[in-house]
Symmetry: C2
Subunit: 426 residues, 2 copies
């Protein structure tokens, strides 16, 4: 049966290519930056409604959300950033699935580094360019195309397909958290983030930290009368590097075999001192700590605090002036589903059927909203999608259109077998 | 003779104490920050004129100044920042002397760290508080009091006394440079910066540098795909520390014996990266390099460039991405006069006469405008004044009023003997 369906799906998708590329252009041209998602979300809601899905567009709010331990966001009100869910109701008796993707995109950054306008959606040599093309409007399109294609072929599924177009993923997942709190759950979830079509049953979580390293000011000409927070921060950076080594030594999961550092700790920002000829009395470091799929975030926090406390053994300065540790900003919950979870197995099969080779199965080096779905919604989430992370968040972000159609084909076949075929009208 | 004069000068100064303290309050209450010096300079000019000095108040300008190799300043026009010079003409036949002090003060910084308003001029327990009290309005007052006291005693000197109230010292000496270009020269100069009444025949020069350390950006979750400019900057900081060691190993001058690091290199500012979960592709370091009294600044610059170039031997990254070195901002020319220079010898004698102990003779750990006077104006400059550098540039800056009067006494005696007594009318 699969072979036959695959051919029909493939043929149908070929007919959709041009319209689908135009749709992605339209989506990319909407700069759905944080706080500006409404226009695109309303377009998506209209489309889902036109496809016959039960559409739910709402602005998240309320204490249950805002005071939830997993809520992280730089803002508290979301009027311009509604969530959208469309449910393609099944006939009953089948397994349900959530297709979860985010519409929020990160800022364009330095526009001079872009060859075109950051929101051009221009297509060249089979690539569509623009902020959000890969992360992750291309993946969202693949999911939508899967539903549309099955509908075009007259398919009815037994299980529900719940298409989620959420906000706030780039800030830590408040959109998906709100969808969970609104009651959306399923037997499994697919998150079509740009995995370069690798299957990620496990995903690294991460959280941001800020360190304040103290010094004592003095004139640079008599710098020995002070204590340089810049010099002390070198020791802190080294201590964090040692902690990273120690934590990664423990990761023996073969899914991480190809990653040089499975759960990195990245110090991304350093800032200290105010005057070239003064000794700096404060350096602030900001970074991102990776959290292993099976690890509790609180446990990772504890390890960081302990590593910083151990600095006092190396240098008595830190005994009297301990490094201040703050967890701030974004946070992504790690997630893990069994490698032999039925959806992981099914995805491998449909991948082989469409692509003709064995898929790569790895653990993701970054977090997605899949962690929240797995951990909070009892909805095991697998991350798999078109596009490559190397271009996400960078100038000249693009996606290969072919990979979107390949993924859509895999998704359609997967839905068919996961949710079950109810009837065929074609 | 000295003993007799000393007693008269001392007695006269005791009568001046209250009025002098009020005058310093008045000066400190004028926030003569960079670009705001005019009101105070006009007050000082009026006072000098009232004392019968030939007063020269002018706004520095012109290509000779602005294109001079020793000109450094963040600005190019100085309308609100006139220089003031007052000449107490001698009767002829004596040695002339410049008394050089700056009126510009550094910013107050965080006002919350001050117990009083930063420009309060409040007096408590014999200390006068406020930005500029020590650096260096107290020293300027001591110089002015020396002239005033001699005048009150009816003294006429043979040599000229040239009182200079300059701007721009804190930015590298453009005010003194302009005074030199205007033709002011003398047989020697006294710079009453806060030396805690140590005599500094030699003074460290210094100059500011900026280093740009390159990296390659990547997502923090796959940080091994990038190169952290923060990690690379650790190596740069270490290389600069090694250069500092190497340069200080060569300093054998006994005047530096008590200083742990005679010519420090201070990295005072570090800044890099933009996002906690990205690998930083650029770190900027800003610092101050000390220059030895007898050293050419160009030679010191060459050593810094070479030390940075040697980084490529340690880490091939630097071969392809060399650290960029820029000399910017402030610069103070080093200076040295012989330890047996007549003014140095005379200052020791008058110090002993007034204080009763041997003065400490050291090399200064920071630059002053004395370097320019020595190097460009053929006017050997000795730095000696009241106040302690530990409180300069910091909150709650203050000066012990007693030290101002002690210095004024030493200065008056020094002027008397340096310039020579012409007549006595008292």
């Amino acid at each position: 049966m699969r072979k036959e369906w695959q051919e029909r799906i493939h043929a149908q998708l070929q007919q959709e290519r041009e319209a689908a590329a135009r749709l992605l252009q339209e989506w990319v041209k909407e700069p759905s930056l944080q706080g500006q998602e409404r226009p695109l979300q309303e377009k998506i809601a209209s489309r889902l409604a036109a496809m016959g899905l039960e559409v739910d567009l709402w602005v998240m709010e309320g204490d249950e959300l805002l005071k939830h331990p997993y809520f992280v966001s730089p803002r508290r009100t979301f009027e311009a950033s509604p969530n959208v869910v469309g449910v393609w109701k099944g006939t009953g008796g089948g397994r349900s699935i959530i297709l979860n993707g985010h519409v929020d995109v990160v800022p364009a950054g330095d526009e001079k580094q872009w060859d075109d306008d950051p929101f051009s959606g221009v297509i060249r040599d089979g690539r569509l360019y623009g902020r959000g093309a890969t992360d992750m409007k291309g993946g969202n399109l693949a999911a939508l195309l899967a539903i549309q294609t099955l509908q075009a072929l007259g398919v009815r599924l037994k299980g529900d397909v719940i298409f989620q177009s959420v906000v706030e993923e780039e800030s830590g997942g408040a959109g998906t958290l709100a969808a969970i709190l609104r009651g959306y759950r399923a037997d499994a979830a697919l998150v079509p983030e740009p995995t370069n079509m690798k299957i990620f049953p496990k995903q690294q979580g991460s959280m941001w930290f800020r360190l304040r390293v103290k010094g004592r000011s003095a004139h640079g000409g008599t710098r020995y009368e002070g204590v340089s927070a810049i010099e002390k921060s070198l020791l802190v950076v080294q201590a964090v590097a040692e902690l990273e080594k120690e934590r990664n030594r423990r990761i023996t999961d073969p899914l991480y075999a190809t990653l040089p550092i499975p759960i990195p700790i990245n110090i991304g920002v350093i800032q200290g001192g105010k005057w070239p000829s003064s000794v700096a009395d404060l350096v602030t470091l900001e970074g991102r700590m990776g959290v292993a799929p099976g690890e509790e975030m609180e446990e990772a926090k504890r390890e960081m605090a302990e590593a910083l406390a151990r600095l006092a053994d190396k240098d008595p300065w830190f005994a009297e002036h301990p490094v201040e540790l703050e967890w701030f900003g974004a946070r992504w919950v790690p997630g893990a589903v069994a490698e032999d979870h039925p959806l992981v197995m099914l995805l491998q099969e449909t991948y082989r059927a469409v692509v003709g080779t064995d898929p790569v199965i790895e653990a993701s080096p970054w977090g997605t909203d899949g962690g929240l779905l797995t951990k909070l919604a009892d909805t095991p989430a697998v991350v798999f999608g078109p596009g490559v992370t190397q271009v996400a968040h960078y100038p000249n972000e693009y996606i290969e259109l072919d990979t979107i159609f390949q993924c859509a084909e895999i998704f359609a076949l997967t839905l068919l077998e996961w949710c079950g075929l109810a009837e065929e009208e074609a």
